[in-house]
């Protein structure tokens, strides 16, 4: 079967789609892409449906070899780019697609953010588990064998050769490295905290600690004081909830968070800003601003429209910028669509 052969797996590369819904009442976390915006962009640049399963690259990308006649790949995520290895070693940039022939070796450099996405035209043929291709590593199911990639894996492809169509690139990638305030809706348990704690949450600068993974980000900086008890009787958890255990050190919960928990949640990141927090990595600063639910809903519509508009700006890309095209044609690497510069 056609495949991408994994020469080096990267730090924690997992197959993710938009998540596994409908099983939280059985204690099954949602999982799914940490940065839904970059996930969707990677898919669209490869010609896939917006919600197709991609490879999520976490901190450090994999090195792979093409074991198919040809494959179109795309990479999206702050600071992530495709680097061809071997004789024609070349950096091809990110936020674009490119078609590679059998035997090509490449790696994903970066990312500068916590995560980036590698999509392949036609998608990865992983069987859905409970309706989703997302990998839930702690549970050992979903995605590619329920785990992160390992060296020696052959990640199967749906197609043996890339469809004959233009490569795409985003001329202006999204601003993924900004330090604007993350918007939150206070609650659902803000009444478990002192007024000073809420003021601190909305004025202090926090820093993402080393304890950061797909479950959540533990934040360093100011501590948030509870009014009284810091244990609550277990309650549901929404992605983006900021729970505060007895230490007063907040934990911002991400895609793999548990479905229920017993610490009060002082606030919840709005859905429009979840991609921003999914990109944060240890050492990054983070600060919060409060909005009400109606404003959060409005901001989500704005974000959705902005993402659609951004994806619509994708332009045909030179198949392989800076490469020896004659030689590539001879090698039958590209499908014949060449653009003038």
């Amino acid at each position: 079967m056609s495949a991408l052969s994994v020469l080096a797996p990267g730090l924690h590369s997992t197959i993710q789609d938009r998540g596994r819904y409908g099983y939280q009442a059985f204690g099954v976390p949602v999982s799914g892409a940490l940065d839904g915006e970059s996930h969707e962009i990677a898919n669209r640049l490869s010609g896939n449906a917006a919600d197709a399963a991609c490879l999520e690259i976490f901190y450090q990308g994999p090195t792979m070899e093409v074991e198919a006649t040809s494959v179109r790949i795309s990479v999206a995520g702050s600071g992530a780019e495709i680097e061809l290895l071997g004789q024609q070693s070349r950096r091809l940039g990110g936020w674009r697609s490119v078609t590679l022939a059998r035997g090509s070796r490449f790696r994903v450099r970066g990312p500068a953010a916590a995560c980036a996405y590698l999509a392949v035209d036609g998608g990865f043929p992983v069987a859905p588990v409970l309706g989703s291709a997302s990998t839930f590593v702690r549970g050992g199911f979903g995605g590619w064998r329920g785990r992160a990639l390992q060296a020696g894996d052959r990640l199967p492809l749906n197609r043996d050769s890339a469809e004959d169509r233009q490569e795409l690139a985003l001329p202006t990638p999204p601003d993924t490295n900004d330090e604007r305030a993350i918007r939150v809706v206070l609650g659902p348990q803000q009444d478990y905290f002192t007024g000073a704690a809420i003021e601190t949450l909305l004025s202090a600068k926090f820093r993402v600690s080393q304890q950061a993974d797909r479950m959540g980000l533990r934040l360093d900086g100011a501590t948030l004081a509870h009014r009284g008890d810091y244990n609550i009787v277990s309650d549901g958890i929404a992605t983006g909830a900021i729970q505060v255990p007895g230490s007063g050190q907040p934990i911002l919960l991400l895609a793999d968070h548990q479905t229920t928990g017993g610490y009060p949640k002082i606030a919840t990141v709005i859905s429009a800003d979840l991609p921003l927090v999914g990109r944060r990595r240890p050492g990054d600063r983070i600060r919060f601003a409060a909005v009400d639910v109606a404003e959060a809903e409005n901001l989500r519509r704005v974000q959705r429209a902005a993402l659609d508009a951004l994806i619509a700006t994708a332009v045909p890309a030179h198949p392989m910028i800076g490469l020896d095209l004659d030689r590539l044609h001879q090698a039958n690497l590209i499908s014949g669509v060449v653009f003038d510069h």
Binding site: Y21, G22, Y23, Q24, A25, F26, G27, V28, P29, V129, L130, G139, G140, F141, G142, V184, V185, G187, P188, I232, V233, S234, D235, G236, I237, A238, T239, G240, A241, Q258, T259, T260, G261, K265, T268, V269, I270, S271, V293, A294, A296, E297, R300, R301, R304
Partner: protein, 240 residues
């Protein structure tokens, strides 16, 4: 405490019935869950019952908090069907030897003695309040009062799947290998979580559970059968 409908960001509402673990509260949570699920409200993704609240996850691009809250408030007053059917599971447990590493200690700390702990645990009918913490992990209560103990002072890093545990008035079964802070008083041979079957968890919130003591030989036989996919527990329906 009156019912409160709280927002968790713009993707979930929490309908909070109280702040305690209480069977009557749980029944109200589960009744609302049944009504919300039945109402099939556009934009609602799923509902998650806990001891004292119902979380309703929704897609904010399809339904707004204000509209959803109004619909949920109309469902709060609906009647609970008096003849609601429940599923009753009879779960085999071996309360012996290495399959019950904390049984002696629990017997000492409660003053009941080893065999009485097992007998008492197997004598009650439990209610599945919620499933959480781990995929398929059922929080079941209420434990007979003499068995109430706080969590272990030194949590274990790893316990095997099927471990039957007690703490803080509850009993549970570890569905997968996991860290554990509860007292392990037995092991069930059956598999209670399997992502490859539908639904993936054996127990659902609102189910009834009883434990049945089995010997080591029966345990080994049932575990082998479960591992071969030959033995699957089936519930019976009870009216409550």
């Amino acid at each position: 405490m009156s019912v409160r409908v709280l927002s968790s960001g713009d993707t979930a509402l929490v309908v909070e019935f109280g702040d305690r673990i209480d069977r009557a509260l749980s029944e109200r949570v589960l009744a609302l869950r049944a009504r919300v699920d039945q109402a099939d409200i556009a934009g609602v993704i799923e509902t998650v019952p806990t001891f004292r609240s119902l979380m309703v996850h929704y897609d904010p691009l399809r339904v707004g908090a204000a509209g959803l809250k109004a619909v949920i408030e109309t469902l709060l007053e609906g009647a609970v069907s008096p003849n609601q059917k429940r599923r009753l599971w009879r779960v085999p447990v071996c309360y012996e030897g290495e399959l019950a590493p904390d049984l002696d200690e629990v017997g000492e700390r409660t003053g009941l003695g080893t065999s009485e702990v097992a007998a008492l645990h197997a004598s009650a009918r439990y209610h599945v309040y919620m499933v959480g913490f781990l995929p398929g992990y059922p929080y079941m209560g209420d434990l007979p009062r003499p068995l109430h103990l706080p969590r272990r002072a030194d949590p274990r890093v790893r316990v095997p799947p099927g471990s039957v545990a007690i703490a803080t008035g509850m009993t549970a079964i570890y569905p997968v290998e996991s860290p554990a802070g509860w007292h392990l008083i037995g092991t069930t041979p059956i598999r209670i979580f399997d992502p490859g079957v539908q639904p993936p968890a054996l127990f659902a919130p609102g189910d009834a559970v009883e434990f049945e003591a089995i010997g080591r030989a029966a345990f080994d036989r049932l575990r082998a059968a479960a591992e071969n996919g030959e033995h699957r527990l089936a519930p019976s329906d009870i009216a409550e």
